[in-house]
Each structure stands twice: as structure tokens, then as C-alpha cells.
């Protein structure tokens, strides 16, 4: 069965840790990291990368456009 796998890349230094992306993720993949970036913000990261479908919802709501989204079909 073909399955969709996704992944995001967060521009960590540009992330302001607002957390708006977290509730927007239908798979609960994205979360704020306990570490901080150079500006002291808890940046977004994939806490649960296996579940990402690359729907780009997080990127849609990100006010700073720090999220890049990739998606591919996988045959299992």
C-alpha cells in the first residue's frame, strides 16, 4: 500500500517559539524543543517524525515561514 511520508526542516535560528504550529499538526508531530536557540526561544522540532505526512499545516500557520516541508510516497 502506498503511504505518504513527510518531513519538515525548521530554520532553528529564525524560529520564535510561538507554538502556533503545535495545535495545527493533525498528527501531533511537531513540538517545542526543551533547548533554546541563540535568541532564547524554544524552537519547533519533529518530536514524532515517524507520523509526519507532509501536510504542510504547520508551515501554513507559521508566522515566520521557518518551516520547509517535504513529502514522498512510499510503497510498503
Amino acid at each position: 500500500m502506498a503511504k505518504v511520508k513527510g518531513s519538515i526542516v525548521v530554520n532553528i535560528e529564525r524560529c520564535k517559539g510561538c507554538g502556533v504550529c503545535v495545535p495545527s499538526c493533525p498528527q501531533s508531530v511537531i513540538a517545542l524543543h526543551e533547548d533554546v536557540n541563540a535568541k532564547g526561544y524554544h524552537y519547533a522540532y519533529m518530536a514524532n517524525p515517524e507520523e509526519c505526512t507532509g501536510c504542510a499545516n504547520c508551515a501554513m500557520v507559521c508566522p515566520d515561514a521557518v518551516i520547509t516541508v517535504y513529502r514522498m510516497k512510499v510503497n510498503e
Binding site: K5, S7, G54, C62, P63, D64, T68, E76
Partner: protein, 261 residues
Amino acid sequence: MAEKITTNDIVKEENLVFRKTPLFIDKPLSYCPGCGHGVAHRLVLETIEEMGIQSETIGVAPVGCSVLAYEFMDIDMQQAAHGRAPALATAIKRLHPEKFVFTYQGDGDLAAIGTAETIHACNRGENITIIFINNGIYGMTGGQMAPTTLPGMKSSTSPYGRDIKTMGNPLKITELVAQLPGTYYVTRQAVHTPGAVRKAKKAIRMAFENQKLNKGVSFVEIVSNCNSGWKMEPVQANEWMVENMFPFFPLGDIKVPAEQK
């Protein structure tokens, strides 16, 4: 079962589905974390990118938080005096009718000091696009009460909540300009959820496409948050906006041209 797919297998150029539009100048946005301005900027720039009109677009930046919009948008821009963006856009459009001209204004700019310019530009039916970000407050100067502040809403100049007996009623300027014959397309959108962002982008696209028709002003209001001014966390501010702002400023198209319904 196939081999385990790792992130490195997925993160490849051919699998790209979303990236920051190159029309953003590569510098950090000056907005607070969670501010809707960033999304609104992105939607305007993505629309310009998709229409392929980067070199034919002239934007007018307002006074307010988005005063530095020209620092982030890789298009031709002008900076207007406070509230005068529609007047400046009128001049630009009349001198360069082939260009796409838009103003990007906040509620303190468009609905307070710029009310006269806004209403008259809309009434004259200038062939421009107005993007209006409404967060119900003067964000840049420290969260003072704006004409769009809701009844009972606390701000730094109405610490006990806006009392309409002494402070007057909030202004629904979008409904107001929809009454004018010069407006062609008037809509109210938001950018707090992925679905709302997609709808807002469609509206902005339509507002830019309408300039080809030369039929009048296209006016897109975006109800946004101001978590710093409202003294809330960004996610909490979005929830507050849904509960309190949307009943007063309902989302949806207010005036749609008959031929586009």
C-alpha cells in the same frame, strides 16, 4: 517491508511541497512571536510570486507594526504617512495604471487616522488592492485602544474594558466600505488555522486578479491577533480571537461581484 525511511530520504529537492517564498528578503521579521502579520506578508508575497508580477507590483507600507514591510518584501514599495496609504496608492495607480498597486495597513492606520483616505479612495473606486490587518488594538505603540477595540476589551488606555458610553462604539469599517459603489470585492478573512490561511490566500489572489478588470477597490480584511498587546500567549490569543473577535467581526465575503459568485 521496505527499508526504514529516514528523514534524510524524504528531505530532497524533488519532494519539496512548501518552502519560504524567495520574495521574502532574507532577514528575521521584526514582529512578535505568533503575530499574524508574518502570515499575511507571506500570503501577499506568494500571490505575487504565483502571478509572476514581482516587477509589476508596487506596495505601500503603512505606519504601525508593519511600517517596516518594505524591509521584508522584495518588491517595489513606498512608505506612506500615517493613514495616507490609499491616497498614495491612488497616485501611484493613476501614474502607472499597468502596475499592480496594493496597500498593507493595520487598523490604527486604516480605520483611525486614515478613515477619510480609506473611505474616499473606496468611494472613488480606485483600482487598487487594500490589505487590512485588524487586531483591535494599536500594537506598535503599546496596546492602546483603537477604533476597532471590542466593547469591554481591555487595552492600556481602557484598563477596565472599553465602555461604549464614554468611548464610543467599535468601527466595522469593512462593512462600511462595502456599502460604497467604488468597492468591487470586500471580504474578511483570518490566518489563525491552516484552513483559514488557505481561504485568505484565495481572497488575496482574487483581490490582485481584480486589478486586471479595472472595476474598483478590492478590500481584504484579515482579523489577526496581537498577543503582546492583548497580554496573552500566541496560541491563547488565537483562541481568544475566535471566541471574541469573530462574533463581532464575522469571517466571510461581504461584497462579491455578481459575475464571480
